[in-house]
Assembly symmetry: C2
Homo-oligomer: 305 residues x 2
């Protein structure tokens, strides 16, 4: 049973204090799929231009990621570039060329429509809603969003997330969406908007999972070198949803097993941490499931008391 | 066996988004002592002026805090006032009147000198070193410092902390002291300066404990209302050192039992969280050990996986 991943497939130009790469494979759906594929079969939905390189297709295919839903059309692939601050907690966008992504209107291949798991990367809320409507047999659906949609497409976004089981956002987005500065109050409001499960990502400070009246706090892995944080949040999402799909987790009366959710958050943190160890998707070229499980155990060692 | 606590005893004026108090009991040694006294007998060393109120002496005495070392001299008690930002992550100092604290030169009563535990609040490093020298039978000593001493009194500070078992600082201080932006590298450098145990406090994001090659990450308690964060870091220190003293922890070959250190960090977080629930020291007027232990168990519930 596969996880359907929908979102951007892109080329990125990235500069961090550790170096600069002018053009490399990126995009939310790319990072999510690469991370999730360690846990469950993945089928990707996205759009690329004629310039999309054979070697990048080959990388995704080598992880058994289904590419029937990766549309290739005339024009150029989405290109984004940015530069990170010295502490890498901020980044400045230098360039956003939507290119073929501007007309992205995801239509799922028939072979995708009956799958039970769906993870929607950060795209226009109405498009996310449209994908959800194409999948009549979902066990679990959720996704990501961003400040732009929260601010300027609020009604559409609220209609969209009302149908989701889980929402993954960062702390400033949680505050913006809820209108509450306090994280615990913000979470309580968001849980009334539809999703029974909320994961608030806090970058280097970890993540907090809210589910019903319970919450769970996960630290971020303490890396000695953060080379490139691009995609770390998407890899978190991929690890989180990929783990749940791989375990065959299904909500019962809207509620998901809390122990599985906690493990999913840790796997999300693990995948986010690996992502930062090299530029772009490079860490996933040779990362093994054994390394992932070893880091999961490291999380246990450094949080148990 | 008592914990000796040395530092400021003050009056504070504090404004937060939840309210404003013009004058209330404060000071690092006050907060540390009140928090630590839930775990172990405490003896305080500090200085106050003629204006120090009987009711404030009574509060400390009611917690069985030894006050033989609390010197009262002509003049006024140290006064500090500040205002917090809307999210309470920043504060602006409005006024710092050192008053009698300017001449603080801690001399320990004879009855204090043979105690085994010492916690030095943030004061001039040479004064901290002088106190350490008055205690020949120490099992465990450590303390806090701040950016001012790190920047302008570096040599004195390095000589001082070289004799400590543990150092408690916040993350920006850890970066300043070590010259390393990465927290893990910063910690490795600081552990070579003398203290075998380092606790890096990260405010609302929790704390990280470093000890030898091991580390432990503790979240901060997710409060629904933070009324006043003043003193939370000192209460963390008080809970941490108070717990270790109460357990009779003694280093063996310079190394402290790591399981006890982890529990001490959680008790530190617990005490810091209670501190924020009311203005100034008010939460400690009726806080019970049962509430403290219940919150410790809550930390277990929301971090285990």
């Amino acid at each position: 049973m596969s996880l359907i991943v929908v979102g951007s497939v892109a080329y990125d130009g990235v500069e961090t204090p550790h170096g600069k790469v002018d053009r490399m494979l990126g995009g939310a759906a790319t990072y999510i799929s690469l991370a999730a594929a360690y846990f469950t079969p993945v089928k990707l939905v996205g759009i690329v231009g004629e310039d999309f390189a054979r070697e990048d297709v080959d990388l995704l295919a080598s992880r058994q990621i289904g590419l029937e839903g990766l549309e290739q059309v005339p024009g150029k692939t989405f290109f984004w570039s940015g530069v990170y601050s010295a502490d890498m907690n901020d980044r400045t966008t230098l360039c956003t060329d939507l290119n073929v992504f501007a007309d992205f209107n995801p239509k799922l291949p028939d072979s995708y429509r009956c799958e039970p798991y769906l993870l929607l990367g950060n795209i226009q809320p109405a498009l996310q809603k449209g994908v959800r409507a194409q999948m009549p047999r979902l066990s679990l659906a959720g996704g990501d969003t961003m400040n732009y949609w929260i601010k300027d497409f609020r009604e559409e976004l609220l209609e969209t997330i009302a149908e989701w089981d889980f929402l993954l956002i960062n702390d400033s987005e949680a505050r913006m969406l809820s209108g509450e500065a306090n994280l615990r109050r913000a979470a309580a409001r968001i849980l009334k908007m539809g999703p029974r499960t909320l994961v608030v990502k806090r970058g280097e400070y970890g993540a907090v999972l809210f589910h019903g009246d319970c919450h769970f706090m996960a630290p971020s892995y303490l890396l000695e070198d953060v080379f490139d944080p691009t995609g770390a949040g998407d890899c978190f999402a991929g690890g989180f949803a990929g783990y749940l799909a791989g375990q065959g987790v299904t909500p019962s009366n809207g509620s998901i097993d809390f122990a599985e959710l906690r493990r999913a958050v840790i796997y999300g943190s693990v995948m986010g941490s690996f992502c930062c160890e090299k530029f772009g998707v490079d860490r996933f070229r040779n990362l093994t499931r054994e390394e992932i499980d070893a880091r999961f155990r490291e999380f246990q060692t450094c949080t148990a008391f």
